[in-house]
Symmetry: C2
Subunit: 145 residues, 2 copies
DNA sequence: TTCTTTTGCGACTAAATACTCTTAAATCTT
DNA sequence: AAGATTTAAGAGTATTTAGTCGCAAAAGAA
């Protein structure tokens, strides 16, 4: 039951790392994040480019450049990141792969799935990077499942 | 948010089709199912082989051979099929991809995920092929999302 | 200006998933 | 026995996802 792609998980872990560095001023380089979290530099770079284009991050080139959150970590939610990295339709998918997921002739799991999806969406909407950063330790960010 | 692989969804649709044919005696050929549901014959075949090996289906070769449910559709649950086709660890995966998912220093979504997973698992455990077959029409089985 | 640092971006490679094809084995029909 | 039907099995291909590489562009430092 893989919910998120690798790229999304990497991006998320990286953003949480950023959130834990809030006392530092200026930019954090992708190289540092890649090294600290043991994630491929170039792979991370692509993910960050997307997040920069979508306004989650601000980037700056050159010495002592890097990336930085564009908003306080309290105002960036899992929901925003996942929608960007997994696509807008992420929370609208059907469970069994039949078409519609409308209310017309639903299969037995339809209503359940509707509720489950809504719950997941809500959880993602209320969980901020700051919250994740506060609870997740450095050690746990570094290791990957 | 793709939950199940294509192979699993195909298998599920095919099994539901089988469940709707319970008045027919004997075996239903893979060719017929493949044609009726517009699923690749050989791909389906592989999935069915797995289900046969694991005791969900009974198969028989030769003219008027095919496959048949090994138990009444009322006694076959989504849970059984998904565990076979997606692997035993399907319901034990972590949401954010960090290790452990133990109760030691959980991240903010850990508890939520634990509950959500349990709910999904339970739903799959109580939903039988018969139930799915009773609610899903032929038309909806045929089309894929 | 020239060199270094760092992101941006596109092409390339590898691995996993999804799908196809061929042949063998079992079973029935004639 | 010979041929037809149907599943079993494994190899082969295509598409998607994951990860790598190289160089251009921006910006600071010497
Ligand atoms: S009714 Fe069931 S199979 Fe159909 S779209 Fe909804 S969840 Fe999917
Ligand atoms: S605490 Fe969060 S990130 Fe860690 S294993 Fe549990 S759900 Fe995954």
């Amino acid at each position: 039951m893989k919910v998120l792609s690798k790229g999304t998980v990497y991006g998320l872990r990286a953003l949480v790392y950023l959130a834990t560095q809030k006392d530092r001023t200026g930019y954090v380089s992708i190289g540092e994040i890649s090294e600290k979290l043991d994630i491929s530099f170039h792979f991370l770079t692509k993910t960050f480019q997307m997040l920069t284009q979508k306004g989650i991050l601000e980037s700056y080139r050159g010495p002592s450049g890097g990336i930085a959150l564009n908003k306080p970590a309290e105002q960036i939610f899992l929901f925003d990141i996942v929608k960007i990295l997994e696509g807008d339709d992420f929370f609208d998918k059907c469970l069994l792969g039949l078409p519609g997921c409308g209310d017309f002739e639903p299969c037995p799991v339809h209503d359940f799935w509707k509720v489950a999806k809504a719950a997941l969406k809500n959880e993602f909407e209320i969980t901020s990077l700051a919250e994740l950063g506060a609870k997740v330790t450095d050690e746990r960010l570094r290791l990957s499942a």
